[in-house]
């Protein structure tokens, strides 16, 4: 293989791959917004529908991102807040918080009425708890309803830890995961309340 051939090969490959990568970056840029929307729509919307009741807008379009902390590497952690509006007024604010259960992380969507400072409802978005036991945090309607209509200042821990929530019998770890998630969520809400401008 002569030197000229080698240079030609490297050159062709470099040009082709950079054109490809450049083209893809452009496509990504164009589709990014829509992909975010779709991912939220199909993964978060079922939970949103469960907890938001009184609104006439599309909460997924009316969402805002706020920096709520830093991760281990010092990069910003953002939380997405979904705004439910009725006649232009914000009626609820929904966002996701996490705790850990028996089978892995548990994601919980929390709806808060920003004017009254009241937790309206909570719903589990993602979980991998044992079917039939820990999965009751999703299937048993009585458990999540304990969080509803309580002021954000309430103690959302389990009764065993001095809070107001009764654990599902046989699924204490999973219940505790949900209550931790809600407690964290409420704390986060109180920290960023002023930034939301509501």
């Amino acid at each position: 293989m002569s030197l000229r051939e080698l240079i030609q090969m490297v050159l062709v490959l470099t040009i082709v791959t950079s054109v490809c990568a450049g083209g893809l970056a452009a496509v990504k840029l164009v589709t990014k917004e829509q992909i975010d929307y779709q991912q939220i729509k199909f993964i978060k919307e079922p939970a949103l529908k469960k907890i938001l009741t009184d609104y006439d807008n599309d909460p997924i379009s009316d969402r805002l991102q706020i920096v709520t902390g830093k991760d281990a590497r010092g990069r910003d952690v953002k939380t997405t807040f979904f705004l439910a509006k009725k006649g232009g007024d914000v009626t609820s604010l929904a966002f996701e918080a996490g705790g850990s259960g028996y089978g892995g992380p548990i994601g919980v969507m929390i709806a808060i009425d920003p004017k009254g400072g009241i937790v309206q409802a909570v719903a589990v978005t993602t979980q991998s708890e044992t079917p039939g036991l820990g999965s009751k945090i999703v299937d048993d309607p009585d458990f999540p309803s304990q969080f509803s209509k309580k002021p954000v200042s309430a103690n959302f821990n389990l009764a065993a830890a001095g809070g107001e929530i009764q654990a599902i019998s046989g699924a204490t770890v999973s219940s505790s995961g949900v209550s931790t998630a809600v407690s964290r969520g409420v704390e986060l809400y109180q920290n960023v309340k002023s930034q939301l401008g509501l």
Partner: protein, 192 residues
């Protein structure tokens, strides 16, 4: 330790990459007409898939995720695999000529073996750690090689008896046999 053992059994048999996940079927149909070529292909794939799985994992974690360009995964992984195959070919030719003579002709075929690419993507999708990636890639490739060997052995016997209806000879009977093999592998389901 037990977790790793379970992972090995699952990747080799219960979720066999060929029979249950449907990856790498072309070589199972293509190179199982003789036992020797099945051994060669199997060995070459074990080698390349393990290297590709771990290399792709490292690149994903140290480059793609750090720069936030995970969407280029497909493009980057396939180029890594193609380059790796080239590299292995050249290295083998220089260092171990007898091995190269035995496996050399199978190496170019591996680039488009969906099993190698599939394992690399699965490692990322299922959020494996580095150790898990290594074990999963190796065990999946061994599972692939086993199917290749079983199939080659079965086909040699089927050809010898000559009792396969002429219309099913070749590819059709290979696929039906693969289905039967998948059923027997599924019998191990209770173990994990």
């Amino acid at each position: 330790m037990q977790d790793y053992l379970l992972m090995i059994v699952a990747a080799m048999f219960i979720n066999n990459i060929v029979l249950i996940r449907f990856m790498g079927n072309c070589p199972v149909v293509g190179v199982t007409s003789s036992y020797e070529s099945a051994v060669g292909m199997g060995a070459a794939v074990i080698f390349v898939a393990t290297m590709a799985g771990t290399t792709c994992w490292i690149i994903q974690k140290t480059i793609l995720e750090v720069l936030g360009i995970e969407y280029l995964q497909t493009l980057v992984f396939i180029l890594v695999i193609a380059a790796l195959v080239q590299f292995v070919e050249i290295l083998m030719q220089k260092v171990a000529p007898p091995l190269y003579r035995a496996l050399g002709i199978f190496l170019p075929l591996i680039t488009t073996n969906c099993m190698v690419f599939g394992v690399s993507v699965l490692n990322i999708k299922e959020e494996h750690s580095f150790m898990q990636t290594l074990i999963f890639s190796l065990a999946s490739a061994v599972g692939f090689a086993l199917v290749l060997l079983f199939m080659a052995g079965l086909r040699e016997r089927m050809d010898a008896t000559g009792r396969v209806p002429s219309l099913l000879r070749g590819v059709p009977i290979t696929l039906i046999t693969a289905g039967m093999m998948g059923l027997s592998f599924a019998g191990l389901l209770g173990m994990a």
